[in-house]
């Protein structure tokens, strides 16, 4: 049967498809080379990281076993048979989770204040002079490049055990992370109000208060909330190095094989993180909506 669709003569098709095939072959060659390089790197990395698939397969039963055991009490009964016994430490743990939230909150707030004070110096459009901008940028970079738990380790030695080093560690890391984001926001503002404020004789901080802050505040708040969400997760492990919060109890339970405690604390942490995620997402949506309705 004749096709309704017009078909090119065969020699035309061949002529047109030859370059296409060539391009596709080149692309395929690049993919194969890329995959080969990736495989070589993987083998090297696997040998350095002492990856042992045999051990993994041999011990994978221990993983499922471990997770299974998390849901049994010491008596051997399933946790669901005695929820009160499972969450025996609920009062204590709720207090520690509350502490964890406060650590994250205070760390985020102080870090955001620091970031606010520093971000203007790090921008291309507000900086007083290039050398100060260079130093502000490098400083913020340093603050966010060193993991917060490393700061926590050092601060625990300096400030003693407890939540104080945890807050300070989160603060410094947050300052670095938010400082960069804030600076990017400030670089994207409309400069007309700034010029207007300067032209009518505003000082630097008056200019920032009346010409910059109204433009950036909702973005700053949104980034701050996002950071708070991240910091709640970070604060939950601060206790691993003795810097306060629920982490202390969690690492003890894991190290001492109190299986049902581990699952109870983990569930509390996961639930808290999810609630915080939902709440901050709500607020952020409202902030962005109010920004757009302007």
């Amino acid at each position: 049967m004749e096709s309704a669709i017009p078909v090119l003569p065969r020699h035309h098709v061949a002529e047109l498809s030859a370059p296409y095939r060539k391009v596709m072959a080149a692309k395929r060659r690049m993919t194969v080379i890329g995959v080969l390089i990736l495989m070589v790197l993987t083998v090297i990395a696997a040998s350095v990281a002492e990856v042992d698939p045999a051990k993994f397969v041999g011990n994978i039963s221990r993983f499922t076993d471990y997770f299974g055991r998390l849901f049994y009490l010491d008596t051997g009964a399933s946790v669901l048979t005695d929820v009160a016994e499972w969450f025996w430490g609920l009062d204590k743990w709720t207090r520690y989770i509350f502490d964890t939230l406060l650590i994250a909150y205070l760390g985020t707030l102080l870090g955001a204040i620091g970031a606010f004070l520093l971000c203007f110096a790090a921008t291309a459009n507000m900086a007083v002079n290039p050398s100060r901008r260079f130093f502000a940028r490098r400083f913020l970079e340093f603050c966010r490049s060193v993991p917060e738990i490393v700061f926590a380790l050092i601060f625990v030695v300096a400030f003693g055990l407890g939540p104080v080093p945890g807050v300070l560690a989160i603060m410094i890391h947050t300052m670095g992370a938010l400082g960069k984001l804030f600076a990017e926001v400030v670089e994207n503002i409309d400069m007309k109000p700034v010029e207007g404020a300067i032209a009518s004789g505003a000082t630097r901080w008056e200019m920032i208060r009346y010409a910059v802050v109204p433009q950036v505040l909702s973005n700053f708040a949104s980034y701050g909330l996002l950071r708070f969400e991240i910091n709640v997760r970070g604060a939950s492990v601060m206790g691993f190095v003795g810097a306060g919060g629920i982490g202390q109890d969690l690492i003890e339970a894991i190290r001492k094989f109190y299986y049902s405690d581990v699952s109870a604390i983990l569930l509390l942490i996961i639930a808290t993180v999810m609630v915080i995620d939902l709440v901050t997402e709500r607020i952020r949506h409202n902030l962005i909506a109010s920004e757009q309705s302007r």
């Binding site: 990736l38 790197l41 993987t42 090297i44 990395a45 696997a46 350095v48 990281a49 002492e50 990856v51 042992d52 051990k55 993994f56 011990n59 994978i60 221990r62 993983f63 471990y66 509350f98 502490d99 406060l102 650590i103 909150y105 205070l106 707030l109 340093f142 490049s145 060193v146 993991p147 738990i149 490393v150 380790l153 050092i154 601060f155 030695v157 300096a158 400030f159 003693g160 407890g162 939540p163 104080v164 080093p165 807050v167 997760r233 970070g234 939950s236 492990v237 691993f240 190095v241 306060g244 969690l250 690492i251 894991i254 190290r255 983990l266 942490i269 996961i270 993180v273 999810m274």
Partner: protein, 284 residues
């Protein structure tokens, strides 16, 4: 109207639009209420977490002494061991990211609205990745140590697990953001649903996924430096040990090593992103 007339009428105008200029009651007082609440919670936190000027002061003095002792940074006699630990760290980050990417790809397809099997599977996959993401990498490291023992392998598995959570979320968002026209075209010319995904969706998302994965490789190098603190391999073990034994010059040296390594990885990954995808930052 001449300017002088305009200014004469100014008072009049101000009086007429007084309400608009001052703003509504809500607009005027909401900022103060919000600021008050923020401060109140901060005060509660300061009291509850036992902040005190005495403690902060003595801590800062101690910190200053430590900073003094950090100069000049020196590796001590252990340079070779440190370098080996650092390469272990990079290997952990590399393998963890790669494994997570491989495992998350199908999960991302299942969690995306336009490629999932059915809404039950989509919901289950999403909650699964949310749960994994709620647990920090360090906690996963502790759990994996119980399974495969102390060492870098536990670190690889920890990075992998916590990344599966993030990747399935990022991947599914990228997949949901694709242009529908391509897959509709495949369907309308008689392709199956599988073919629509293979030829209509995947070619669009692969560059985005690669870009996001490369971006995570850099942040995972940072995470991999700390999982050694709980015994899951890499430079973190040495770092924690040196801090506990007050070897501040070595602490400074290790931190510098980490910063340089992360910088190099950052450079390589942004170059690769640029070459493969054409963007420096991960889109979406």
């Amino acid at each position: 109207m001449t300017p002088s007339r305009l200014f004469q009428n100014q008072d009049d105008t101000a009086r007429r639009y007084a309400g608009l200029i001052r703003g509504s009651f809500r607009e005027r007082y909401l900022p103060f209420v919000v600021a008050g609440l923020v401060l109140l919670v901060a005060l509660i936190a300061l009291v509850r977490l036992e902040f005190s000027f005495a403690r902060l002061g003595s801590g800062l003095v101690q910190l200053a002494t430590f900073l003094g002792l950090m100069v000049p940074p020196s590796p001590g006699p252990q340079l070779i061991a440190l370098l080996k630990a650092l390469s272990e760290t990079v290997a952990i980050a590399f393998l963890g990211t790669l494994l997570a990417a491989i495992i998350s790809f199908p999960l991302g397809l299942l969690a995306a609205r336009n490629t999932t099997v059915n809404s039950v599977v989509q919901f289950a996959t999403r909650r699964f990745s949310d749960t994994i993401r709620g647990v920090d990498t360090l906690i996963w490291a502790l759990i994996w140590i119980n399974v495969v023992g102390l060492g870098p392998f536990a670190g690889v598995l920890a990075i992998m697990t916590s990344d599966i959570g993030s990747f399935s979320k990022l991947y599914s968002e990228a997949i949901e953001a694709v242009d529908r026209k391509a897959s509709e075209g495949v369907r309308s010319s008689g392709g199956s649903r599988f073919q629509a995904i293979r030829f209509g969706v995947i070619p669009q998302v692969i560059p985005v996924l690669i870009s996001q994965t490369l971006y995570y490789f850099e942040s995972n190098t940072r995470s991999a430096t700390i999982i050694g603190i709980v015994g899951a391999g890499g430079i973190g073990l040495y770092l924690a040990e040196m801090i506990r034994t007050y070897e501040w010059d070595r602490v400074a040296f290790i931190i510098l090593m980490i910063l340089v390594t992360v910088g190099i990885i950052d450079f390589i990954s942004s170059r690769l992103r640029l070459a493969l995808v054409g963007t420096r930052r991960p889109s979406a």
